[in-house]
Symmetry: C2
Subunit: 449 residues, 2 copies
């Protein structure tokens, strides 16, 4: 398959402007719809519209699902209701529901009125599930047979459904109550004798997903069981749809982006956001939170004004103590958050996890303390200051690591997303605590001499 090159974009633009549609078709034909979407993303909206029309309805629908949601919306605004309906009818129900949910309300209503009632019901059903649940991820199209059917019946059914169900991986088997009782692979249809009953050859151990399960847990199931698609069931174990692994890959990218964004003190909404005002608006709440914390820190430090004024050298090491506290807190917190996300953090082992973090902290404080002591001794020839700093550093590292490790684990136990704790929150609280430890010890030392 061809990949796009930057010159393809220029070429597409030139061909559209010249009205050379045959050459445009030849350019787009061998490309994957994801690549066509990339080209479209670089064109003016009128050029996009021309391109889309040249693709034919089926291809155009595929390309639409690959466009980012803003470009997609803008483009759909340009099309007539009839054209939008034709596109939606080409799409699997999950993509159709996503597309419709992004349209303005008035257009949605007109479009829905034009859809065949069956498609409308499917889409309505899907829109009722939370977007981050199994129901929000699934498509209602799937291939199923009754357990009393034969392999030949299954083949005939798959043949009828071939147009509608993309890439069927499995044929799900249900009983008289529509409950999921087994599964066949498409390979079974090739390999088994046509007159065998499905119930006699089906695999009875099926991993299924409850329709209200959170998407992060669904992704963990796919990862754990190495499945390519999974059936979705309602509370009565009735088969309602299927989730395919390509959607799970998107979920995993989304969840990793979300966690990484929280560490940075921003949100995954900023990705793809082109307005710098909105990006600033997304980041500022986190920054202001950290900022207010640091103002409290300035206030705390002013209480030690006398010590600093008598012994200015104390001030030189404040950023070092503060940064070390911040680094240790972040390491402990980020590792804990990642273990939770990977499902490796067992709630019964919280104590063990924190103990390990404290052991690491102690060892680090010995090494870093020795380094700091040597530096201070060589620079200032002051043993007392060296000892004071070593002591402050040790205490600061221990406290920062304890907070860093414990807060995410506790939040997770209280069912709050622990990733929100890892960013500015832990850094700033550790900054202020580290500074207070250092200056308190320093003041106590100065008073005793």
């Amino acid at each position: 398959m061809e990949r796009i090159r930057p010159e393809d974009i220029d070429r597409a633009r030139a061909l559209i402007d010249a009205g050379d549609y045959a050459a445009l078709d030849a350019l787009l034909e061998p490309l994957h719809s994801a690549d066509v979407a990339d080209i479209l993303g670089e064109l003016e909206i009128d050029q996009q519209r021309v391109c889309l029309k040249r693709l034919g309805t089926e291809r155009a629908a595929e390309v639409l699902t690959e466009l980012d949601s803003k470009s997609g919306q803008a483009l759909l605004q340009l099309l007539s209701d009839r054209e939008v309906v034709d596109l939606i009818e080409e799409l699997p129900s999950d993509d159709a529901a996503d597309l419709i949910s992004n349209l303005p309300a008035a257009k949605t209503e007109r479009i829905e009125a034009l859809l065949p009632s069956e498609d409308r019901d499917d889409i309505h059903e899907l829109l009722e599930f939370g977007p981050e649940t199994a129901g929000g991820l699934m498509q209602v199209e799937h291939v199923w047979v009754h357990e009393d059917a034969t392999i030949q019946d299954a083949i005939d059914f798959v043949r009828r459904m071939a147009e509608e169900v993309e890439n069927p991986q499995r044929v799900y088997v249900v009983n008289a109550n529509e409950q999921l009782v087994g599964v066949l692979s498409i390979m079974d249809l090739v390999l088994k004798a046509p007159d065998i009953r499905v119930r006699d050859v089906m695999e009875r151990n099926v991993v299924s997903v409850p329709v209200d399960m959170d998407q992060e847990q669904v992704a963990a199931l796919f990862s754990r069981y190495d499945e390519f698609s999974m059936p979705v069931v309602d509370a009565e174990q009735r088969l309602v749809g299927r989730i395919t692994v390509d959607d799970i890959i998107d979920v995993m990218e989304e969840e990793a982006t979300e966690d990484i964004s929280h560490i940075a003190g921003t949100s995954d909404e900023e990705f793809g956001e082109t307005s710098f005002v909105r990006v600033s608006g997304i980041r500022l709440p986190w920054l202001i939170m950290g900022f207010v914390g640091e103002m409290v820190g300035a206030f705390v430090m002013s209480r030690y004004q006398a010590s600093i004024a008598t012994f200015v050298v104390l001030a030189f090491f404040i950023p070092l103590i503060v940064a070390t506290a911040g680094n240790h807190g972040m390491q402990a917190a980020i590792v804990a958050v990642r273990e939770i996300a990977l499902g490796q953090a067992s709630l019964v082992h919280v104590g063990r996890r924190i103990l390990k973090e404290m052991q690491v902290a102690f060892l680090n404080s010995v090494v870093l303390g020795l380094l700091l002591f040597s530096f201070v001794y060589l620079w200032r020839h002051d043993t007392a200051l060296g000892v004071l700093l070593w002591g402050s550093l040790t205490l600061t590292i221990l406290v920062a690591s304890l907070i860093g490790a414990a807060v995410p684990l506790l939040l997770h136990r209280w069912r709050v997303d622990p990733a929100v704790a890892t960013g500015p929150f832990i850094t700033v609280s550790n900054d202020v605590i580290g500074m207070a430890i250092y200056l308190t010890l320093a003041t106590a030392y100065l008073k005793s001499h």
Copy 2:
């Protein structure tokens, strides 16, 4: 399918100790091999061995691939060479190669001598590829037909390969030179007439993966093209294997963990590491790097000793300036690194990306500067100090954001993994730079009054 409960582990332990193997079989039979591996992970090694033997060779081999590599190695040490060979013969080539690469060298040699020469060659071939390349991910087992074959030939071939190739998604089509020229889905075998020639119905646009491609890029291809499996080709376009999406899910988790670890200033090696000494050893290099930077910072600050001594209030705001620089640098860097990882960062748009980051920085500095000025004015009634801090803050934020955004993009352009730059490196350089800006401005102000 049943899921495991904590009491299953206790029950398995009790049944093994009591020698009640029939009940043990009944407990394990309905479980997925990933769940059996979880139970095994909690047992003593002798109990693990008993369990493994009860599972039968095929099941035992599956469970082995689900165990973490340390438990797996320990368990394999207890088995005879013959037993290990039997297990390896059950595995797809990629899992077999992974297992063998973790054995001690002496055992590896004995095992290889016992393997059929064909399996040995496959495994040797795989072990020669880097573990983080397409070649290291692929399995050599795949289903292929010649383009001149008929659908019936393909069905016969799939039937013969059914034992060996797990979950075939596609039948790859090759020409007389073994070059990949097309693809059929397993569905085509069900739906097309048996006497049709493969070349007449195959899909000619196949996305394939070069055998030396980096695994992160392979994952991006799967995500982009929504594929469930992809063929791997050598430099001459000859088909050499296939990669399935379940392995890609593992790669994505691994890469996200790696990036998140680098942000924290640690490495993904620490996950699953039980020795706190080794965890400390993994983190210390990053911490020491940051620490040395902060020592330089202490040195820099000592140059401004006179200013601080005359005007101690300057010191109170050092942590605030430093933390704000750190936060802005981290946000800009982490967002850039994540965009690079998701393949959203275009190298031609580096300038646009940095411009946007500078606009955000400017807006943030207006809001935060106003906040800081108000705080200082209300607290100290000192307009000059407020203006000095506002100015320092603005300059610091702009410089920190520029460094944070530019460094990862430049590293990426120079083909260095940008994630290594986001942790302590950017934080510490921004700390020192922020401090220097603030104290230089403050000293200049003090001198002019």
